[in-house]
Amino acid sequence: MAEIKIEKKKPIWPWILLLLVPSMFVVSWFLIIQNDEDGKVELVKTKDTEVLIDVRENNNIVGNYITFINSGANTMSLDHKHTSEAIIKLTDAVDAMADEVGYNVRVDIAKAKQLADEITVNALATTHADKIRSAADVLSTALQNMQQAKFPELSNEAANVKSTAAAINPQTLTLEQRDAVKSFFRKAADLLNKMN
């Protein structure tokens, strides 16, 4: 003879919870991820260097040098006072320009000032061209380094300064290569004018 027992159904809510809880975690996780993406600030690559050529520093010291070079100081006296003064003004201008744009040229400046002093003191020394060339090298290098760091658009101008400095022959008397020296000062003034 047959027998058929019955029993109470097992409650289904534990199974629902079992499925619901992980589902809620998954949904929450997706929502958190979604919110993170919504709130994420898009990183925009910006230049870490300001375009300084568009900024007019108008530094007076730099201005003084440019004015000095462009003020008809076409002569170069025998005692080389003018050359020395030009180098000193250029040295100060490079120093001031470096301060304006936050570039360290202290070592170069010190070396250039020392050379300018030597030129002033030994007006008749035949080694003047050596000193002028050395000072030109130091200052043109400082200008070029500053240009590469702060004024990438002025690479041609910086290269011109460097090449005119290199054109000064250290074995030739300064008075015999006025044009080369003047050219160096003018190119330096041109570069500084654009930087300033």
């Binding site: 047959a2 027998e3 058929i4 027992k5 019955i6 029993e7 159904k9």
Partner: protein
């Protein structure tokens, strides 16, 4: 059917109950009588909650069985049986679970103690009707004419402890 037996329910009415896992759910199984004839199919299970088991199979009978004896069932006066008049639409009857065996392989229910004629002349009811103890006491003596079903002792759930509802232990 005035005396509603509140301890007899269709299993599908009890949404929190089901056939126990180790037992067969015989709904829709074919019902075969002692003459190996099909009398219908199991349409529902009538359960007693206190006994936690099925006590009757609710069988939807074949139309052939209804046609076999559509009108009346003449009782034998000396057995105390009554005449049953089945009306149109009354096509369900109950079979005590203790009277059947299950062929689980072929999904068939066998009633080896009751023949086709007996089923044909059994009082039937319409599908889904709440069954009362009075109906049970009308049908059971028809199936078991030699058994005694007096009114006393048949009003509570203990009624389903009878052998008609339980397999021999």
């Amino acid at each position: 059917m005035k005396d509603k037996n509140k301890n007899l329910y269709y299993l599908h009415e009890l949404s929190d109950y089901k056939v126990a896992d180790e037992y067969a759910d015989v709904r829709d199984w074919e019902v075969i009588d002692a003459d190996k004839r099909t009398i219908g199919k199991v349409d529902g299970l009538l359960v007693n909650k206190e006994a936690d088991c099925v006590v009757y199979l609710d069988v939807e009978v074949d139309t052939s069985l209804i046609e076999a004896d559509h009108e009346t069932y003449a009782t034998l006066a000396n057995k105390g049986m009554h005449e049953f008049l089945n009306e149109d639409g009354e096509n369900h009857l109950i079979i005590p679970i203790g009277m059947v065996t299950l062929d689980e392989d072929n999904k068939k229910v066998h009633t080896n103690q009751i023949n086709y004629t007996t089923f044909a002349k059994t009082k039937r009811f319409k599908k889904g009707v709440d069954l009362e103890r009075s109906y049970e006491l009308m049908v059971l003596p028809h199936y078991f004419p030699d058994n005694k079903f007096d009114e006393e002792g048949t009003q509570d759930n203990h009624f389903y402890h009878r052998k008609e509802f339980n397999p021999p232990s």
